[in-house]
């Protein structure tokens, strides 16, 4: 195994050792993991409030929500697409579920219906991208404003409160000490891991990101696979919308505002390539934890929370810059 490959990528003409590629992904995740540890230790030392149960739970709740949408974003990024509508879909879903609960529908019915709406939203995006041949960023950028508008419209731009106690308790509850929100992350990670690594669908997602015309020539069902990617991303955004409504006891269209970029940033910090065909499930979860730690740390250190947004932009540009260098090197 040629360890130089780790830093340079495979030399031209040399066979790429998949073990090295895997190791690089693993090392990236390990580095991000150590970054999280370093941040946590530092924050514990310099603030008296970070290392409290209440605060850590808070960080983990925030990171759970971002992890779920980051996993959805990753699935789309693997196909060399992008989903910029996530934030609005989170907001819209929180409105839908809150309105339904308000009208007295049972929690289960409200949640299932909201998820179906999410799937519908994803299908609309995929339809525009495959049948309408629109670039993913245009289609989902249009989705970003459209679904926000729909959310405002159905709520009259008012926050929808008065949600049932059982619903609100879910986001604070736990099973055997494991917070429910974290269980949701696990519940998303496991099937996504299986899909990406052990199913034909997963192989097709990567093949489309790697060489879409080539995949088409090999009879890969490209349209169907792209539908899956965007519907999955929107479904996860809807689930997060429901969880946010439960956590804040509020459905409002501005829930999830700019979270699509948190999802992109989490994903690329976790080693996903914006150029497609590279990404897994652990990276985005670690990336989301980095971002939520920065967010929380900024609050505790009395830094203006707006810095976190600026930092997100800087992180995206920096990580993608290096990713692109690696690509050009080949």
């Amino acid at each position: 195994m040629d360890l130089m490959e780790l830093f340079t990528g495979p030399r031209k003409g040399a066979v790429a050792d998949p073990r090295v590629a895997r190791l690089r992904m693993y090392l990236n995740n390990l580095a991000v993991f150590f970054l999280v540890c370093a941040m946590w230790i530092t924050l514990s030392l310099v603030t008296s409030t970070f290392a409290t149960t209440g605060n850590i739970t808070n960080v983990l709740r925030q990171s759970s929500l971002w992890s779920i949408i980051a996993i959805g974003q990753t699935v789309v990024l693997i196909t060399a697409g992008i989903d910029l509508s996530i934030g609005s879909v989170v907001g819209l879903s929180s409105c839908i579920v809150a309105l339904m609960l308000n009208k007295g529908y049972p929690i289960s019915v409200s949640c299932v219906f909201t998820c179906l709406c999410g799937l519908g939203v994803g299908a609309v995006h995929a339809f525009g991208i495959t049948k309408g041949k629109l670039p993913p960023f245009i289609m989902t950028l249009a989705g970003l404003t459209t679904w926000f508008g729909v959310g405002l419209l159905i709520t009259g731009a008012m926050p929808i409160g008065n949600l049932p106690a059982d619903f609100k308790n879910f986001s604070r509850g736990d099973v055997l000490g494991i917070p429910n929100l974290f269980l949701c992350v696990i519940g998303v990670m496991i099937p996504t891991y299986i899909i990406l690594n052990h199913t034909r669908l997963g192989n097709h997602l990567y093949s489309i990101g790697s060489n879409r015309p080539g995949a088409e020539l090999n009879a890969v069902p490209v349209t169907r696979t792209i539908f899956f990617a965007y519907m999955y991303s929107s479904l996860l955004a809807s689930i997060v919308g429901i969880l946010v409504a439960a956590r804040l006891s509020l459905g409002i269209a501005s829930n999830g505002f700019t979270w699509e970029l948190q999802a992109v940033a989490s994903s690329v910090i976790g080693g996903t390539s914006l150029f497609g065909a590279v990404g897994g499930v652990f990276g985005p979860v670690l990336g989301a934890t980095v971002l939520s730690t920065i967010n929380n740390g900024a609050n505790l250190l009395n830094v203006q929370p707006y810095w976190q947004r600026i930092l997100t932009g800087v992180i995206i540009v920096t990580v993608v810059f290096f990713d692109q260098l690696k690509k050009r090197g080949k």
Partner: protein, 244 residues
């Protein structure tokens, strides 16, 4: 002998470009037909029509005795067409085995990938082609010959009626050319037909039963190999000889 493919009056235009003009070609069972022509003559376009990649602008395709319309590569593959594309259509980020099995991945328990089976079979197929490519390696960084072997190995996953090959010897080493030509002969022995596109006249002369030459989208020659001589073929390709 049974006719496997009969193309009649095929036209194909891309905007103002006439890539194929009134093209006719028939290929029998177990026959190896060589297709030659200058760059841009329309060879790959013809292949892609048979592979379901393009629909012809007009014309008829008869496949195995039936008139067919191949709307996509899947239709063609189902009918028994296997293809080695000129650009190979490989996914650089996937392993050799996953490329070979792309869109017909082996499964266990109905939905999980059978990585072991895909790797083992791929190893066998690559060995048969005398390739040093390893099934578990990703394609990025592989040599031209290794990539070619992967693209050829794909055609061995089914029992095709015809294998279409677009310049399968263009990027491979001198030592590997005979291996690929042997493979083409072995297809014939199993009664599969082959359409071989190549710029290398020696390869064509060595394995083909019949040679067709096209120029600017038209067929200018279609003869049994025994009736062809290399100078004439070269003249037809360059346009020095108008038709034969």
């Amino acid at each position: 002998m049974t006719e496997i493919v009969n193309l009649s009056n095929i036209y194909k235009s891309f905007g103002a470009v006439q890539a194929l003009i009134d093209f006719n070609l028939s290929i029998n069972e177990g026959e190896i037909v060589g297709l030659m022509g200058d760059n841009g003559a329309g060879k790959s376009t013809l292949l892609k029509i048979l592979a379901g990649n393009f629909l012809p602008t007009s014309g008829n395709i008869n496949f195995n005795g039936e008139d067919v319309v191949f709307n996509n590569p899947k239709d063609a593959r189902k009918a028994g067409v296997e293809v080695v594309y000129q650009d190979l259509a490989l996914c650089d980020h996937l392993t050799a085995a996953k490329n070979i099995y792309l869109s017909r991945e082996a499964k266990r328990f109905g939905f999980l990938l059978d990585h072991k089976k895909m790797n083992e079979t791929s190893q066998k197929l690559l060995d048969e082609l005398n390739s040093s490519a390893r099934p578990g390696d990703v394609v990025t960084g592989m040599s031209g010959g290794q990539r070619q072997a992967i693209a050829i190995a794909r055609t061995r996953l089914s029992e095709p009626k015809i294998v279409l090959m677009d310049e399968p010897t263009a990027a491979v080493s001198v030592a590997q050319v005979p291996v690929i030509l042997d493979y083409i002969r072995s297809l014939k022995k199993q009664n599969h037909s082959v359409l071989l596109i190549s710029h290398r006249l020696p390869d064509i002369m060595e394995v083909c039963d019949r040679i067709a030459v096209m120029r600017l989208g038209e067929k200018v020659c279609d003869k049994n190999k025994s009736d062809c001589n290399p100078e004439e073929i070269t003249g037809l390709i360059t346009g020095a000889i108008k038709s034969a």
